[in-house]
């Protein structure tokens, strides 16, 4: 793991085409700007973790499915 310090408005370049900028620092919150090609997926860690956890639960689902009336 690379650990480095950055000041406000400084940037970090990752590989080809990913640029992370420090846009604002306020108390314990840092606002980042992330410039990345559309093919690079960027998520908040907790969102990714929530979907991963839900996928695991979904895979453990019971097979007794409640009936859904499809007629509207």
């Amino acid at each position: 793991m690379l650990i480095l310090s950055r000041k406000l408005n400084e940037k970090v370049v990752i590989g080809d085409g990913v640029v992370v900028s420090i846009i604002e620092i306020r108390g314990d919150q840092v606002k980042l700007g992330i410039d990345a090609p559309k093919t690079v997926k960027v998520y908040r860690q907790e969102v990714y973790d929530a979907i991963q956890a839900e996928n695991r639960l979904a895979a453990e689902s019971a097979l007794t499915l409640p009936p859904i009336d499809v007629a509207k």
Binding site: V47, Y48, A50, N55, E60, S61, P66
Partner: protein, 140 residues
């Protein structure tokens, strides 16, 4: 998930990136569940791995997904009709209400049978939507 199955190659969907948390498995069969309107997504590589799916628009007529054009093109989706959108369903073994994950739906390009799990940023969509409650609410 369901014992021995007869699978037609037209039912096989390639998920090049796998599903989140299950990256290693990239080939699934999309099948009608014996009980309509559910679907099964059965791993072709691991018999024990399968998911229950539902059409999210069935219980959330206001559902919408916003996915980058590049991501859609990589699934062979050029036109909205080319895309099949399905939500993963969790059926708690303790008998609790079934929920659907509308934050991380599956998008499948019908033409090239390639799919991906996408993550939506719209705050309306969560990982647990009570299917029966929202179905009832949508019919009021």
């Amino acid at each position: 998930m369901m014992g021995e199955l007869d699978i037609d190659e037209r039912q096989v969907i390639d998920f090049p990136d796998g599903l989140i948390g299950f990256r290693k498995f990239t080939s699934y069969a999309l099948l009608d569940a014996p009980q309509k309107p559910y679907f099964y997504l059965q791993s072709m590589e691991l018999a024990e791995l399968g998911f229950i799916l539902l059409d999210p628009f069935l219980f959330r007529p206001d559902y919408s997904i916003d996915v980058a054009d590049e991501a859609m093109r990589s699934l062979g989706v050029m036109d909205p009709d080319d895309a099949l959108v399905l939500a993963m369903v969790t059926v708690p073994p303790d008998g609790g209400p079934i929920t659907a994950n509308l934050m991380g739906p599956l998008v499948i390009g019908r033409k090239i049978r390639r799919g991906a799990q996408v993550i939506l940023t719209d705050p309306r969509w969560a990982t647990k939507h009570d299917v029966m409650a929202e179905l009832a609410a949508s019919r009021k």
